[in-house]
Each structure stands twice: as structure tokens, then as C-alpha cells.
């Protein structure tokens, strides 16, 4: 008897199939795949890709639900519990906050905090000492902000909203 288990691999394959469905929802707006005389139109490749992604997605979904998956446990950190989940969430959260703050408070303030907090996370994970990680990260934040300004604005003449507003 085949056992079907909905695991994380299957969940990700389902996510890709859902994304493909969103993509497919736009295809009717492009008209029919072949115009007169058999000439392929703007919908031709998207239709072919969409069909292929459904087939591949369903195949991966089926395989992942029926296969016996022995996932290796993620390597554990000595300092940050559940690092495999927490780490990417910290990076994502900090980067989202940075992108929100960047146009409002400008390059200097937002980058200094972003680099400081990003550095704090990596330093704390490495050393396990918050005090040690904190002072290193303050220096790192200032240095990285200055480095970015020198490189982007001074050396390559690119524009940055330095003070925001």
C-alpha cells in the first residue's frame, strides 16, 4: 500500500503550482497562442511553459508525497536556537525594515542600523557574547556605512538619498 504524506517538499511544490496558476490567470489576456497562418503569438511560450510547470510540479509533488524522505537534521548552533528557521527570518525582517526606512530616513541612518543589526546577528551567533558582539557591530555598522558612501557616491558617482525625506 502506498502511503501519501504531505511534507515540506510537497508543500513547496504546491506553492510553485499555485504561483503557476497565478501566472496562468493572465494568459487569457494575451489571446490565442497561434494567430492566422500558424504564426505563434505572445501567448505561445507562456502556454507551453505553464503546461510544463504543471506537469513537473505534479510529478515532484507526487514523488515527494510517496518517497521515503530521510531529511538530515539541520546543523545546530551553539548560541541561537533553531538557527535554520530563525536566521533567514532575521535577515528577511531586517531587510524589509531597511527597505521601508531607506527612502524616509535616508542612506546614512538606515544603513548604519541595518549593517549594525545584521552584523550583531552574525557576531552573536559566532561568539555567543552579546557585549562582545554589540561593540564590534557598532564599529562595523559605522564602517560599512562610510564604505558604502565612499564607494557608491564618491568613487563611482552614483546617487543615494543620503539624508532621506
Amino acid at each position: 500500500m502506498t502511503l501519501y504524506r504531505f511534507n515540506r517538499q510537497a508543500a513547496f511544490a504546491t506553492f510553485l503550482i499555485v504561483l503557476n496558476t497565478i501566472y496562468a490567470s493572465q494568459i487569457p489576456e494575451l489571446g490565442i497562442p497561434f494567430a492566422k497562418g500558424g504564426e505563434p503569438g505572445p501567448a505561445f511560450l507562456p502556454v507551453a511553459l505553464c503546461l510544463f510547470i504543471y506537469v513537473a510540479g505534479l510529478r515532484i509533488l507526487f514523488t515527494s508525497m510517496t518517497a521515503v524522505i530521510t531529511e538530515d537534521a539541520p546543523e545546530r548552533s551553539d548560541t541561537v536556537p533553531r538557527l535554520a528557521q530563525v536566521g533567514p527570518l532575521v535577515v528577511l525582517g531586517l531587510t524589509v525594515l531597511y527597505l521601508i526606512a531607506f527612502p524616509w530616513i535616508g542612506y546614512f541612518a538606515s544603513t548604519a542600523f541595518y549593517a549594525l543589526l545584521m552584523s550583531l546577528f552574525f557576531n552573536y551567533e559566532s561568539s555567543g557574547s552579546l557585549t562582545d558582539a554589540a561593540w564590534k557591530s557598532v564599529l562595523t555598522g559605522i564602517a560599512i556605512t562610510a564604505f558604502g558612501w565612499l564607494f557608491f557616491v564618491q568613487l563611482f558617482g552614483l546617487f543615494l538619498p543620503v539624508w532621506g525625506g
Binding site: P42, A56, E75, F121, N123, K136, T145, G157
Partner: protein, 504 residues
């Protein structure tokens, strides 16, 4: 042609241009040597800066990164058994065994010397092959170009490790992403969801930064530092440049034939789409072992195995540039990003580029030669430092990468939307990587997608919808046959042998 090539060297001697080469070389050394960072990542985060550079300086800098990055992948492989890049795996295998015997400097010196030989052979063959191949490429018609793109994307997909379905899915997703925006043949917006930001499509810059830089941040944030960097190496304080110069006896033991054969293997594999430095180094290593007088030494610190692997992976650099410049098809992630550097400066890689803009390309060739020589200079200057390179502070490293990645996208596009797009692609790529979907087919799909679609539709318009046009054109047929042969050799054949082995 020789005069043009000479002109390339003269351009390279201009102080600013040479400075860009040295800067790129040092950046490549650094990124290649740090586990988790690669030459691909270095070139990806350099991409925004190239907006502010002259095209020659940008290309010269990229060549410096490429050559140094591939070489440096072996440094931490030798010193701490963690290759900075996948191409350094075989070198680590032999080099770390030497390191454990207290022969680290000898291993680093031999690795650098082999990289110089490989890099020079690759660069010289590139110079002599580029023009004849591009002359043939000028004869290609639209169906031929379509079949060539098919060859590239199919080969890149089938050589990806892991599930073929997942690699194919990644390629299809890349092609689907490339369809967002204005249709290449008729002025119709596609998949823009009525957003004017999406009308211009998903551009290369946020795609590259997202796929390689931001995705790497996610990966590193989920990796404990003791796993990422390994145990700190023993620090050798009294080493000098002489300790890193290979002895004549060692060079004779390796043998000119090993250097030559491995370098040619590297160039040939570099020319194949999806070949890459790792494959070059594996095959050259296997070939060296097959023909070795003392194959039992392999795996225990064989200087011949180490040299074969290193010569091949640096020779690959020149080989990988050949299809990019001559037919406009990138074969791996680095050349795909170099393709982007050309596009950013309004140049389209392909036979026309060599015919009309050889003055732009010649310094690139010269840069590959000089960067190869710089490898040996670097091991003499920085050899003692290499022993400590894996100890760099992660907070500084990933703080810089995070800032440069995100700010770089803004500085190049002045668009907050593109910054959000890079983050979204990075998070999506992290999901793909975590669940075993390779990223290279995805990138190749994004880059080659517009060409794939345009050549396909143009061909079908000419043939009034008949796909037989791809079989009646000689070059097109040749590329399709090559595609079928590669699929057989690289996927079907090994799978049949594996099944037959299981039955026995």
C-alpha cells in the same frame, strides 16, 4: 588580429585600467577564498558598480575576479579542508592531506603554479579560437540560433545535480520570469498585472543580486559559524615567499603532460554549456589518476592530482568565454553575469561584437593573461596570509554583502521597486535552494528566455508554423543532434547503467 590583441595589452597598461584589474583580482581572491562566497557572488555584487565604469574597465575587472576567484576556491580547501568554491573540491582532497603532513605552503605554491599554467593556456586558446568560431557563427540563421539556445539550456539543466524534474522546473520558472514585460515581437505587455513597474520586465540586476547575493545571505544566516568556516587553521608566522615556490623536482613529478592535458580538458569543458570549473577539475583529476604511475598516492596528498585539478579549473575560464563572445551563449553563472555587463553597456555578445568592437574585447583577453600571472605573484605576497583567511569576522563580511547588495540595486536603478524585487527573488531562490532546486538553470532561463522565444517565433513565422525548419537547416540539426547526444551521455546512459547495476 595580433595588432588588435597587442592594443589590448597596451590598454591594460593604462594605470586606471590596470588598477581595475588588480582591484578585481583582489576582490576575486577574497571572495573565492572565503567559504560560502564565490567568484559568481563577487561579480554579481559588482554588477551595480559597472554602471559607473567604462565598459573596458568593467570587463577587465570582471576577468580579474573570475580568474582569481576560481583559483582562490582551493585556498581554504588546502588550509582547512573547506573549499571556498565547488571547483576547489579535488584540490582540497589532495591539498589538505599535504597540509596535515605540514606541507601547506608546498601545496599552495603548486596549486598557484598549476593555476597560472591553466589560466595562460585558456587565455591563449581563447585568443586563437575566438575569431574563427565567430566567423562561423556569423553564418547562423534564426533556426540555428534557436537550436543553439536549446543546446545551452538543455545541457545546463541535465548537468545540474539532483532531480532532473527539479532542474527542469527551475529552467521553466526562469523562462516564465523572462516572459514578464513587453512581448519581444509585438507591443503587448504580458504578466504585468496592470503595474507599470512590471511592464519593463524583471531586469537582470535584481535577478542576479537576488539569486546569488541575497539568497546567500539567507543561506549563511541559517548556517552555524563553526560549520561555515570550520576549525581555525594553525597560523604559520615565519613563512616567507620562498616557501611557496615549487621545487624543480615537484614540477618534474607533475610533468608537462599533466599540465598540458589538464589545461586542454579545462578549456574544452569550459566551452560546453553547463560545463563549469567543478566538472573540469573532476575530469582532469580522474584523467590524471587514470594515467598516473602511482595512482595509489591519489587521495593521500598527490601533487599530480592537485596540479591537474587546479590547471583544469583555471583553464576553464578562457574556455567559458569562447561561446559567450563568439556565439553569444553564456555557459555558466559567471559568464551569464558577464553577459549582463555587456548588455548594461549597450553591447550584445556574439559574432558581431568581435567583428565591430574588438577594441573593447581585446583588453579582456589581455586581462586573462595578466590575471593568470598575478596568481603566482599573489601566493608569494599573501601566502602566509592565506593560512589565516578563514578566520575573518562574519559580522563584517555579511554586513558588507547585505549593504552592497541592497544599496547596489538602488544606486544602479534609482528604483525602490527593484530593491523589493531583488529581495523577493532572493527569498524565492532561498526556498528553491533549500528544497533542492538548482539556481543556475533558473538564471539561464531568465537570461536566455527572450532569445529562446524570439528565435522560436521568428523561425515558426518563416516556416508558417512548421517545426520541421529546425531539422532542415544543417547547423540547427547539428545542434539538436548534439543536444540529444549530451542528454544520452549525461543522463540516460548513466541512469541505464545504474539500473542495470541494481538488477545485478
Amino acid at each position: 588580429m595580433l595588432a588588435d590583441l597587442g592594443g589590448g595589452f597596451v590598454t591594460l597598461l593604462q594605470p586606471m585600467t590596470f588598477l581595475f584589474l588588480v582591484g578585481g583580482f583582489l576582490l576575486g581572491l577574497f571572495f573565492g577564498a572565503i567559504p560560502g562566497l564565490t567568484a559568481t557572488l563577487a561579480i554579481a555584487i559588482l554588477l551595480p558598480f559597472t554602471f559607473g565604469m567604462e565598459v573596458t574597465q568593467a570587463l577587465v575587472m570582471v576577468m580579474g575576479i573570475y580568474m582569481a576567484g576560481i583559483y582562490a576556491g582551493s585556498i581554504t580547501g588546502i588550509t582547512v579542508n573547506i573549499p571556498g568554491a565547488p571547483s576547489g573540491v579535488m584540490t582540497s582532497y589532495e591539498g589538505y592531506a599535504m597540509m596535515q603532513r605540514g606541507e601547506g605552503p608546498r601545496a599552495l605554491g603548486l596549486s598557484a603554479f598549476a593555476s597560472v599554467i591553466g589560466g595562460l593556456v585558456g587565455a591563449v586558446l581563447l585568443m586563437f579560437l575566438a575569431e574563427p568560431i565567430s566567423r562561423v557563427a556569423l553564418l547562423f540563421q534564426t533556426p540555428d540560433k534557436f537550436s543553439l539556445v536549446v543546446l545551452a539550456i538543455v545541457t545546463v539543466t541535465i548537468v545540474s545535480s539532483g532531480s532532473l524534474w527539479k532542474a527542469s522546473m527551475a529552467m521553466a520558472l526562469g523562462l516564465a520570469i523572462s516572459t514578464v514585460g513587453i512581448d519581444p515581437m509585438v507591443p503587448v505587455g504580458r504578466f504585468d498585472f496592470d503595474s507599470y513597474y512590471l511592464v519593463e520586465g524583471i531586469t537582470l540586476l535584481p535577478a542576479v543580486i537576488g539569486l546569488f547575493a541575497i539568497c546567500e545571505l539567507f543561506v549563511q544566516s541559517s548556517t552555524p559559524s563553526r560549520i561555515a568556516f570550520g576549525e581555525a587553521p594553525e597560523v604559520h608566522k615565519r613563512l616567507g615567499p620562498r616557501d611557496f615556490i615549487p621545487s624543480g623536482a615537484d614540477l618534474r613529478t607533475v610533468g608537462a603532460a599533466t599540465y598540458a592535458k589538464s589545461s586542454v580538458i579545462g578549456v574544452l569543458i569550459g566551452m560546453l554549456p553547463g560545463g563549469g570549473a567543478s566538472m573540469a577539475s573532476f575530469i582532469a583529476y580522474a584523467e590524471a589518476k587514470r594515467g598516473a604511475r602511482n595512482p595509489e598516492e591519489y587521495g593521500k596528498g598527490s601533487i599530480q592530482g592537485l596540479s591537474a585539478s587546479e590547471a583544469a579549473n583555471n583553464a576553464m575560464c578562457g574556455g567559458a568565454i569562447v561561446p559567450l563572445l563568439t556565439i553569444g551563449i553564456p555557459g555558466d553563472a559567471v559568464t551569464a553575469i558577464i553577459f549582463g555587463v555587456f548588455l548594461i553597456h549597450g553591447l550584445v555578445p556574439g559574432p558581431g561584437l568581435l567583428a565591430n568592437n574588438f577594441d573593447v574585447v581585446a583588453p579582456m583577453f589581455a586581462a586573462l593573461v595578466v590575471a593568470s600571472l598575478l596568481i603566482f605573484v599573489s601566493v608569494l605576497l599573501f601566502g602566509p596570509l592565506y593560512m589565516r583567511l578563514a578566520r575573518i569576522n562574519r559580522g563584517i563580511l555579511y554586513g558588507v554583502i547585505a549593504m552592497v547588495s541592497v544599496v547596489g540595486v538602488y544606486a544602479s536603478t534609482y528604483s525602490m521597486f527593484q530593491m523589493w524585487m531583488a529581495l523577493a527573488i532572493g527569498a524565492f531562490a532561498f526556498g528553491l535552494r533549500r528544497f533542492g532546486y538548482p539556481l543556475l538553470p533558473l538564471l539561464m532561463g531568465i537570461i536566455l528566455g527572450p532569445y529562446f522565444e524570439e528565435f522560436l517565433r521568428r523561425s515558426l513565422i518563416v516556416s508558417e508554423g512548421s517545426p520541421l525548419i529546425f531539422l532542415t537547416q544543417p547547423f540547427s540539426l547539428l545542434f539538436l543532434v548534439m543536444t540529444a547526444v549530451f542528454v544520452w551521455l549525461l543522463r540516460i546512459g548513466p541512469a541505464r547503467r545504474a539500473r542495470a547495476g541494481l538488477r545485478e
